[in-house]
């Protein structure tokens, strides 16, 4: 029982991170970006490359882990580099595709384009990296027993898993402060609410759009690295998370950061609890059930103002 909750929260916090980025781009760019999942995958793989590069440049060969974690200082460096590169990828995609379609097409054209872009990105990644799973580290981590086995089934977590929770909390609090305390954040919220008025008030909406891509893709890259840290890095990593991301963002209410966090944790927990009920093979369908339920019962989401 406790173990299921803990596992659900770890998976849920990865979903939360991705969903926060998704809900931001959804509310400010005004379309459902099917490429968000691929930003997670690219983030995870770009960190693999950045990590090997860092190791090669420093001549370290292998990472010396920082106790109690399974990785050395090179991984955080690689993660930052990967977040920057993923953001650059998103900006390039916006420049080449979405910006042009924003001027001429309907919102739904952007959705089609993002669907095509997602497929192209996923296959490009497969072309570049192949399909074999990758890992940041081969270190085996010993899980720490927090609760003995005779209490509610017991609870064991690895330090890496706890780190994932911590990173998510830090990222979300940071984003919250950005949105509420800075001019850029207020401009982003203003643009999400009313882009025409935002322009009248002096907001450079194209600038806000670029900032949104950078933040959304950066968060996705961090989520991808976290997913890779506690699991395998595979070309399907982000694709398999896409439905949970959408379910979380809609569950929380599009545009609500805290909603996306809550939605992500709920979807993560639901996935975790579905395993003993329906078997691990149907885990991915849980997000679909959550999505259908929320659309039928409360389409504007838990924290959304309006559908």
């Amino acid at each position: 029982m406790l173990q299921l909750i803990a596992d659900g929260l770890v998976v849920g916090s990865v979903i939360s991170l991705g969903a926060v980025g998704l809900t931001l781009t959804y509310s400010i760019l005004r379309f459902a970006n099917f490429g968000q999942g691929e930003f997670l995958t690219w983030g995870a793989y770009l960190a693999v490359s950045a990590l090997s590069l860092t190791l090669a440049v420093t001549g370290a060969g292998v990472m010396a882990p920082i106790e109690p974690f399974s990785f050395g200082w090179q991984l955080p460096v690689a993660m930052v580099a990967s977040a920057a590169l993923t953001a650059a990828l998103a900006l390039a995609l916006d420049w080449a595709l979405f910006a042009r379609l924003r001027r001429t097409g309907s919102a739904i054209t952007l959705v089609i384009a993002s669907f095509g872009a997602a497929l192209a990105l996923r296959n490009l990644l497969q072309f570049l990296y192949g399909t074999l799973p990758e890992y940041y580290t081969r270190e085996i981590q010993i899980a720490i027993r927090l609760v003995p086995r005779d209490t509610l089934g017991g609870l064991r977590v690895t330090p890496d898993q706890m780190l994932v929770l911590g990173v998510t909390a830090a990222a979300v609090i940071g984003l919250h402060l950005l949105l509420t305390r800075t001019t850029l954040g207020r401009a982003m919220r203003a643009t999400a609410q009313n882009p025409a008025l935002a322009r009248v008030a002096g907001v450079d909406v194209e600038g806000v759009v670029r900032a949104t891509w950078v933040i959304g893709a950066g968060l996705a890259a961090v989520a991808g690295v976290m997913a890779g840290l506690v699991g395998q890095i595979r070309p399907g990593l982000g694709f398999e998370l896409l439905l949970p991301l959408f379910a979380a963002a809609i569950l929380g209410g599009i545009g609500s950061v805290w909603g996306a966090v809550a939605g992500g944790l709920i979807v993560g927990l639901a996935e975790s609890f579905s395993v003993p009920l329906f078997g691990a093979e149907y885990r991915l369908a849980t997000a679909f059930l959550v999505l259908i339920a929320i659309l039928l019962l409360r389409p504007r989401g838990l924290f959304g103002e309006k559908a």
């Binding site: 001019t183 401009a187 919220r189 609410q193 008025l197 322009r199 008030a201 002096g202 907001v203 103002e305």
Partner: protein, 239 residues
């Protein structure tokens, strides 16, 4: 003397081939309140939106204090000193009153940045509601937030699109009184209005727009008694 805001034979519209503005010209002098009147569909709102950079201008020009702002993008207008209060959805409903003003102030260079306290002084009602989301305020208070949001960027010219729409007559009076107070601070005002009587009561001059062109321009006191004004409103119905 250079006009504070001048439209020179402006033609434009949303879609090519469907002009709404058909050569409109109008000069607003420094320190004036000018009311822009006209029947529905005459292009009044379109004219101020075109000046604000929200509607494409095909030909002609818009000058602000002698500078050509025809091709300035909408979001740069506040820096140029042109403020605009749209008719509807003119506040950021999900931002607090204070955040609405903070954002607007932060988006202009320091020398234009007005004091938020001064806005709360001008609109005392808002000071008490400063931390409420603007969307939760009453219609009249929202209109005040919208005006304050534009004023905090210290515009030389303020354009308002039907500030009286949806307000009770009492509130219209209150809002228009505030506009007079705003003019006292040296801001030039161009006011689009359906409420002819209230508009002529505070305006120095008025212009009547019909089918995308100015048809009658004069002192507000003269126009109030001018039979041609009503004629233009009625005549437009024929087309």
């Amino acid at each position: 003397m250079t006009a504070a805001l001048e439209f020179c034979a402006v033609e434009g519209g949303y879609e090519p081939g469907l002009p709404i503005l058909r050569g409109a010209s109008l000069a607003v002098q420094q320190g004036e309140i000018v009311a822009l009147l006209g029947p529905n569909g005459a292009g009044k709102s379109t004219l101020v939106k075109a000046a604000a950079g929200l509607v494409p201008i095909w030909s002609g020009s818009v000058m602000l204090g002698g500078r050509d702002i025809t091709r300035v993008p909408a979001h740069r207008m506040v820096r140029e000193g042109l403020g605009f209060v749209p008719q509807t959805e003119n506040v950021f409903a999900n931002l607090s009153v204070l955040e609405n003003l903070q954002l607007a102030a932060a988006l202009v260079p320091k020398e234009r940045r007005g004091s938020i306290d001064a806005m709360f002084h001008l609109f005392p009602d808002l000071a008490r509601q400063r931390s409420l989301p603007a969307g939760r305020l009453s219609g009249g208070q929202r209109q005040m937030v919208a005006v304050a949001r534009a004023l905090v960027a210290s515009p030389s010219v303020l354009m308002l699109d039907e500030p009286s729409a949806g307000l009770s007559p009492l509130l219209v009076g209150v809002v228009f009184e505030r506009l007079k107070a705003v003019r006292e601070t040296g801001v030039t005002i161009l006011l689009v209005e359906q409420n002819v009587k209230a508009a002529l009561a505070i305006a120095d001059r008025a212009a009547v727009l019909v089918e995308g062109r100015e048809r009658l321009v004069g002192a507000a006191s003269d126009l109030a008694d001018d039979g041609r004004l009503a004629g233009l409103y009625l005549g437009a119905g024929v087309h």
